[in-house]
Amino acid sequence: MMLDAHQTEKTDAPLVARQYAVAEHKVRSRKDGSAVQADGIETDWAALVLRVRDHQDRAAFAALFRHFAPRVKAFLMKSGADATLAEECAQDVMATLWQKAALFDPSRASVATWVFTIARNRRIDALRKARRPEPEDLPWGPEPEPDQAEALEVQQDTERLGVALAQLPEKQRALIERAFYGDLSHSEIAAETGLPLGTIKSRIRLALERLRQQMS
């Protein structure tokens, strides 16, 4: 799966997207927004989040909103929210992205993954109301200047997962979707997802081991 901005624009609300693309272009031409690549073939979402973090860049935020808000809305509707609630929550999720940009660590998660975790937590608040304690933070926080190579690898991992997902038989893919949309019984969750998660798993573990060694 490539993060093709042109392709995704088509599936988003096209009129609104174009309108803001123009607005964004103006903003970019005023500043030297070299990291903003919203018109490029591949959009570097992580770079946009870092622009939100470092420069409160509203154009970067708008580009993130256009891409992710409609996906979050769809995710929430598949989880049982009606359109009004899903739209409201998608707005909340994007506002949270703005507020918590400093906590985003591109060497640990892609923007899509990070947005997913925010959306999941918002869904728990809105629909289920069960508290979900988080694991303890690792003893190191996000680096101010994240390792480019690691960030790229994390991004590629998510893309590879997307490809793997797309190649799964329909039945299996549906099972995974339903598990994440909160639509599976316990016994259904027990079924194997059959995803090739092994390599990614071990890569993340290696990274953790290396970091722990550096800490001690």
Binding site: M1, V16, R132, P133, L138, L165, A179, L184
Partner: protein, 216 residues
């Protein structure tokens, strides 16, 4: 700092946690184990990435036309977080558990169950319950069957049952069919965090002292 953990969370539990679908008591046990276990942390991050890939590849649902403008207005007044609010480990209690107890072992409000065995029920949602267990070396936790799922996470010391030995960080996942008699190893007091999604049913023929008290 890490001991070798041999008994891990199942794929199903991790998936349900990643999806935000577990009752609070189980969320607490999962978050506590992940805080201790790099392996399961890596697996969980992979599942979060799977959620991200699903979000990224799913069909988008258009947001209403004025939603971006509304969100841009909204973030105007919002301050951005600069760092995560710290969650701290207290001795043998990883941060998520320390948060429920309000500190370390010395903050636990134990209730005696006889034979030196103690427990403390933690405040969680009612669809499942969590408790801390304090079992002196050589003492048994009564034999019981389960109507549902039971998770037992060792925080200090160790216990053995018919299946294996469980030391610090190890988690035993017992289902409906399982009959077991965990006994704390001699030496250090065994302290565990346990969660059940149904009241325990006791079925030992010879009544044991602790039984009526262990019922939740």
């Amino acid at each position: 700092m890490m001991t070798t953990i041999r008994h891990h969370l199942s794929e199903q539990l991790l998936t349900a946690y990643a999806a935000g679908e577990l009752p609070e008591a189980f969320n607490l046990v999962v978050a506590t184990h992940v805080s201790l276990c790099d392996d399961c942390r890596a697996r969980l991050e992979t599942l979060d990435a799977l959620g991200g890939a699903l979000l990224e590849t799913a069909d988008a649902t258009p947001m209403s036309e004025d939603s971006l403008a509304a969100c841009l207005d909204r973030i105007d007044g919002l301050s951005q977080a600069t760092s995560r609010s710290p969650m701290r480990r207290h001795g043998i209690f990883p941060a998520p558990l320390a948060d429920y107890v309000g500190g370390g072992v010395n903050k636990v409000k134990w209730r005696n169950l006889g034979m030196g065995v103690k427990q403390a029920i933690l405040p969680t949602g009612k669809d499942a319950s969590a408790r801390l267990l304090y079992i002196p070396g050589g003492q048994a936790v009564p034999d019981h069957g389960h109507r549902g799922l039971e998770l037992t996470l060792v925080l200090q010391g160790a216990f053995r049952d018919e299946t294996d030995r469980f030391g610090p960080g190890d988690i035993e996942i017992a289902d409906e069919a399982m009959q077991h008699t965990p006994v704390a190893e001699h030496g250090e007091v065994c302290i565990c965090l346990a969660a059940t999604d149904a009241p325990l049913k006791f079925n030992a023929i010879i009544p044991r002292l602790a039984q009526p008290f262990l019922r939740i």
